[in-house]
Symmetry: C2
Subunit: 496 residues, 2 copies
């Protein structure tokens, strides 16, 4: 291995193997028989060992060191930079640790699912304790010997959002929090709109999900939709799968999970195919990824115009109108109310759920918070932030799959995604006229085409924040999101 | 890597990776989006390259050479022998060839499926030509430099049936053929029983398949049932999945595909867990594998006693009796009639379908038959053997997936499996009294327990033919199968 093209041929195989590992994760959450958990953990560990060895292959290291980059174009340089980053990361983390993490997180997901179903947080603690210890070890390995000492949480965060730091996120959140808290308080003083009620056939929910996915341009010849406890999207290039969830009493669960995951999938499907099976052939960061899923879900999917179309489609699929009229339906899909669950939260309170998790996981990673004190810390913080008490673990610390998968540093990217979505929405509205006319007819193409052109097709070519800045024409910050939320919800709740 | 336990630790990871590759194959046939075929081919090639490199890792070769086996027990010796075989095979086949085969067979399956759906055999030929060339190259590599010259077809056959040779199979088939042909002729002189008729809800077929699978002891906590165009079973240990097919006018398609695949799955699930993720943790050969699937499907599933139970269950699941009475139903599930399709064939004609494929694939591997002459050769031979003319490619050379997957040498193991099933059935009947009383109640446990104890639990510990000989207490041969067929069908068709 010596030339750029030899390095890229090696990388192409690594990318293909990483796709396989990702699909195994999809399989585990959607198809795997319950009794296969232990064997699957061994499989994941073996696969991770292969991937790790390839990423820090000494022959790759030598080739990277000897490579003259002067002849490379911007895409070539970005590819090499990404391979170097993966190499530098893999060299720091012992292969055994990396394989053990794959094994234990695969196992812990099953433990979490059972503990959650049985409302038994104590049953999850031994697994979580192991994951936290392994992730702290990984964070330490990643920062060991760094000149600035290096914050282990920052090192983990970098896996999801290159260029972000815990301190930077904390200061962003501090800046956002007062306006969100004030908006929430003002809303909750007003009478709440009626919630959705009735029973909605779950097969019809899946059919509606299929229709909505098509409406948003999700290419089913390169994807599929299944059910999962915790919806997610998975895969790149020609095989990008999404999942959703259904519950007879909550059709919005399937509808908005589907739109959210379609946003992720549209990003992966929208990347220029020249980047397929290269490091640039994925969404550039989770923050940018969430910007796509959240703008699809909220700024588009929960807009007044789109909700008019959805009102008609729900009436057609379920045989009865979901609300007395389209205006009341619009209020319904944007209803702000007491809720324990992040994924079911309205746009205003959502970020408060994220901030809670960010502070707790940072404390776990620094060692300030023991997993044995997590439930108490969660419940105390929740009561302080939301004003009511967590009633059971599935409504508290057991609600999210993330920590069982070892995703420490992932949660803040949701709010970063909201911030980016706010910026993109502002720029998109300035660029496009007649957007609401199209959305009211269920025509999302003007919006999704704009996002594909401005963001999605670039994949990993630019740095995360730069990807958004180039799309918007301004440096991203929280104001557009906060302005949008205040305008939208002041109107909805007659706050003027 | 030096000691036995270090070799086994390496092998354990190889086995885990091979399970992953197998599951990718399952995914391709059941879940994969249509447009992902090219990417999947790249993934399969990358995975095969990893597996190949591990199997012929020089460090493994050194360890195998230095290993003192005197301290090992029988299981240890069998494990080492299996690892040595895989090493010797992998050393002979260039890694590029092995990866190319994985890529091209993954691709060719999609080409085959489209060609079959469109009745366009010409569309399949370029892909088949490539596969045949690659398999001939593989056969040549495997026999290159062997003292006896070595027959490439035998080398490929050994992947599925260690110890078998093309010449040995040919002579077995020659010995069986006259009695099968005579039995078929005598049957076809008699009036045919009525076929099944009506329309059978396909979801109800799937529910019945689930019930039948449970009845046969298939452990759904370590497996699952999905639909596939060409039913198959897949995986080992704790994750053994089966597929079936449904068609409204042919409930026997789903019922007997399910029982057949459950036989394969029962073998994998029945192996002693101490062999999990070792080379002994799989069925020892395809012939022995088919002995399990065929005895489940035929000697048990198409017995008079079991068909009585099935008659009742079909009546319950479909809301009407499938025949006027249980006797006529028994004749129906054993109906011998004109049929183009191997998988739908009765027990008598089935082996004639296999013999046709065996001769054609041997000729393709030797170079005596070009793929461009395959369709003509198939149709001529079919007309000669069966007395009527193939009407379309999906009823002829496009009916089976095997050659697109590169499975040359696989077909004869079906008849070998029938021969082994005949031997096992004879021994089982001698060991067990009251079997039919149990089967008539849908209780397959006496039969399946006997098979688990005598065959399945041993996995790959003994050589294939030895596995059957130990189970039966006699050297396997075709007579028990032929005796069974003549007795059963003489009774069914009043041939006395």
């Amino acid at each position: 291995m010596k030339t750029y093209s030899e390095i890229m041929a090696h990388q192409r195989e690594t990318e293909a193997l990483a796709e396989i590992a990702g699909r195994l994760g999809w399989d585990q959450e959607t198809m795997m028989p319950h009794g296969a958990g232990e064997q699957r953990a061994e499989e994941m560990a073996a696969m991770e060992k292969v991937l790790h060895a390839r990423r820090c292959d000494p022959a790759l290291g030598d080739a990277l060191e000897a490579l003259r980059e002067t002849d490379l174009d911007a895409v070539g340089k970005a590819n090499v930079a990404a391979i170097r980053r993966a190499y530098d990361r893999a060299v720091r983390v012992p292969g055994d640790l990396s394989a053990t993490l794959a094994r234990e997180t695969s196992r812990a997901q099953g433990v979490w699912a059972r503990a959650r179903a049985e409302e038994d947080s104590a049953a999850f603690l031994p697994a979580l304790e192991k994951i936290v210890a392994l992730k702290r070890e990984e964070g330490a390995a990643l920062t060991d010997g760094q000149q600035d000492g290096g914050d282990p949480y920052d090192a983990l965060l970098a896996d999801y959002e290159r260029g972000a730091t815990g301190a930077g996120i904390a200061s962003l959140f501090d800046a956002m929090r007062p306006r969100l808290v004030a908006l929430r308080a003002a809303i909750l003083e007003q009478p709440a709109p009626e919630p959705i009620s009735g029973s909605f056939d779950e097969d019809a929910q899946m059919r509606l999900s299929q229709e909505i996915a098509s409406t948003f341009g999700y290419d089913m010849t390169r994807g599929r939709i299944d059910r999962a406890v915790h919806p997610f999207s998975s895969g790149s290039g020609a095989d990008v799968r999404i999942t959703t969830r259904t519950a007879a009493d909550d059709p919005f669960g399937s509808i908005y999970s589907t739109i959210h995951e379609v946003g992720h999938a549209a990003y992966e499907q929208g990347i220029d195919p020249i980047h397929a099976l290269t490091p640039l052939g994925h969404g550039v960061s989770m923050g940018v990824h969430e910007s796509q899923s959240r703008i699809y879900e909220n700024q588009i999917g929960r807009s007044r115009a789109f909700s008019q179309w959805l009102f008609g489609r729900m009436s057609a699929h379920f045989g009865a109108a979901p609300a007395a009229d389209a205006d009341r339906f619009y209020a319904m899909v944007n209803r702000v109310s007491d809720s324990f669950i992040r994924t079911e939260s309205d746009e205003v309170q959502y970020n408060l759920h994220v901030m809670l998790r960010f502070d707790l996981e940072r404390a776990m990673m620094s060692g300030d918070l023991s997993v044995h004190d997590l439930e108490g810390a969660w419940n105390d913080r929740f009561a302080a932030d939301f004003g009511y008490v967590v009633d059971r673990p599935s409504n508290g610390m057991l609600q999210d799959v993330h920590w069982s998968v070892g995703l420490f540093g992932y949660f803040p990217t949701y709010t970063l995604g909201n911030v980016y979505a706010g910026c993109l929405h502002k720029a998109m509205r300035e660029d496009l006229g007649g957007l609401d006319t199209a959305l009211a007819l269920g025509d999302t193409a003007p919006a999704t085409d704009w996002l594909r052109d401005k963001v999605q097709r670039h994949g990993g070519v630019y740095e995360p924040a730069d990807t958004i800045a180039r799309a918007c024409g301004f440096t991203p910050g929280p104001e557009p999101l906060l302005d949008y939320l205040e305008t939208k919800f002041s109107d909805l709740y007659a706050l003027h």
